[in-house]
Symmetry: C2
Subunit: 362 residues, 2 copies
């Protein structure tokens, strides 16, 4: 009984000081805990926790007192403790695309925008590298097992993509940038390539062009197919004969591309309107046109794809089809968020419209 009193009137302050001293030695950089904040504000652990996670349960003046203590001590919740207790990680895994090969400014932009977008839903991006698809899939499994990631985003999808199945089986929330034609049903966000090239062709038609060239990749895939279809359908819709559309398969070499373009320019029915699957290749077209004194934007039109930094650099600016990458990233974050909120929510696919950025060349 008097023991109790001693503990209260005497012991508590002593205890307080003692703990403070005990902490002091490692204090300079040791981070305060929720308990320290509580002690400082004269409340318990849980009240501090409530201030942070459920403020409506706490009296306004208490909130203020606790906030003051938080600011004074510079308290930040320890992620690992929180995540351990709640079973979440607030991390989203993303395999950084393999380096080299193509100039993929889109993917760089995407990663940046994705980082910002997931921050808006209180998450962060956890990067990993992998040489092959099997490694990537194995990694998802591991991240899930370690509860190191709450969700996954992947890009560079392909037909019958193998990634959705294992992720679905593990019940790991995920959204892909790109459809996976034929894979199991899941959430995705993609850009309508057909609409993009249709936009470009219609713009060119409006400017009086009647002879077209589409510059596609050497190894066409489903992405190119759709873009090419957009070109074809827009041309067909304008009752332009199919013979007035030339399809060029670009190589990964400027000299070869230049020759192919030159050959086409020398033909009697040379196109006046060029649409390319990439800005860089559009630059090559510009070069060849200028070499012949053909002024892009006046005598001919050139439209690129992706609005990469190259496009802005190209003297005065290259007209280009821009993919709405910011919107893609934000939509992905929202779809992920929806899956976090309700793991059984219906998967959703979102197809976004690209935009034609009209500059000097077309």
């Amino acid at each position: 009984m008097n023991d109790d009193v001693l503990e209260r009137s005497d012991g508590a302050p002593l205890g307080h000081l003692e703990v403070a001293t005990e902490r002091r030695e490692r204090f300079v950089h040791a981070t305060p805990t929720i308990e320290d904040v509580g002690r400082h504000a004269g409340v318990s652990r849980q009240t501090v926790s409530n201030v942070l996670n459920a403020p409506h349960r706490v009296r306004p003046e208490t909130i203020e007192r606790v906030q003051l203590a938080i600011n004074t001590l510079g308290y930040r919740a320890n992620h690992h403790a929180r995540n351990l207790r709640t079973g979440t990680s607030r991390a989203i895994a993303y395999r950084i695309p393999p380096v080299g090969g193509h100039l993929n400014s889109v993917m760089d932009t995407f990663l940046h925008e994705l980082t910002e977008a997931v921050e808006a839903i209180g998450c962060h991006i956890l990067l990993f590298a992998s040489n092959d698809l099997d490694g990537e899939i194995a990694r998802y499994w591991e991240l899930s097992a370690q509860s190191a990631a709450d969700g996954v985003v992947f890009s560079s999808t392909e037909r019958e993509d193998r990634r959705p199945a294992p992720l679905l089986e593990r019940r790991m929330p995920f959204v892909s940038f790109g459809r996976t034609w034929g894979s199991a049903e899941h959430s995705w966000v993609d850009v309508d390539g057909r609409a993009g090239t249709r936009l470009a062709i219609n713009h060119l038609l409006a400017n009086g062009h009647r002879r077209f060239a589409w510059l596609g990749p050497r190894n066409p895939g489903v992405v190119n197919d759709e873009r090419e279809q957009g070109v074809r359908s827009a041309i067909a819709a304008a009752a332009i004969p199919a013979a007035d559309l030339h399809i060029v398969s670009l190589q990964d070499d400027a000299v070869a591309d230049r020759r192919a373009i030159a050959d086409l320019l020398d033909s009697p029915d040379a196109p006046t309107a060029w649409v390319s699957m990439s800005d860089l290749q559009a630059l090559t077209v510009l070069g060849e046109l200028e070499a012949r004194g053909i002024v892009p934007g006046r005598d001919a039109a050139v439209i690129g794809f992706d609005d990469s930094p190259v496009a802005a650099y190209a003297g005065g600016g290259l007209t280009t089809i821009r993919q709405p990458i910011t919107a893609v990233a934000q939509t992905i974050a929202q779809l992920l968020s929806a899956q976090f909120a309700d793991p059984n929510s219906e998967p959703r696919g979102v197809l976004l419209e690209p935009e034609l950025i009209v500059r000097r060349t077309g």
Copy 2:
């Protein structure tokens, strides 16, 4: 006593089954814990932990048994529990550089290589975005306080960089890609720009060139200064008069650049050897040369910087100065690792040599 016996011969199996059943309901996707593995292998928690973290303390046959259990159950250590206990996170924070502006293929490659390099030391990259430097610094503080990151890597350094000081104060291990001339002492890795341009000029001298142009950025910074110094010193060393070196300030516009290059080409002492601070701008030079029938690699030489995808694309290949990004990333990982091992280790700066990739244009 017989109680004990009961517990062993009878209770243990029962208990085993009971726990197994209790777990069963959430078993399908619930991840097994270290305890489950122990039970399955007939050892304790700690032994499993030792198998994973200090195998030398465990008898080989026990290791085998535990490994089997790990594989059977598909066990992976829970990151948060481990990190909470050990006070580490095995995460390295990196601010993803702001999008747009320049074509920075170097930074993209760097991020990829860094991701791989930190995996080799058992870490992963945690990305974050920030609009300004203050936000970036605040974020480092937060990440440290939350113990969400064990280390930091940052790039795009500048003179008197403000980032080292707060990181040092917080005793947060970090390495910068780039020197911070004038900032507090810390570990860094950088590429010797002087050596890079010297390499290029010496190569051009050996090929008989005597009149040079250096294409630098519109807003020169310390990075350009060093590169330009490399050019100047190599030229001076060859006893070429300084008048035979032309310095061009590139604009962010191809037309303007093209005109500047054309003016120089029309001058009586036009350079025959061109070195550019960027591959893309080197492409512009190539275009202007070809327009005049000057064949790069025969009549003139053009050397770019960074070996970006653009360089490989440029018909047959652009000769270029490549920064050893893989080595940069690996060295950064090692320096970080050293700081993890010994927080009081001396900071080290490492300056790496770039490499000249000789292709068709020079």
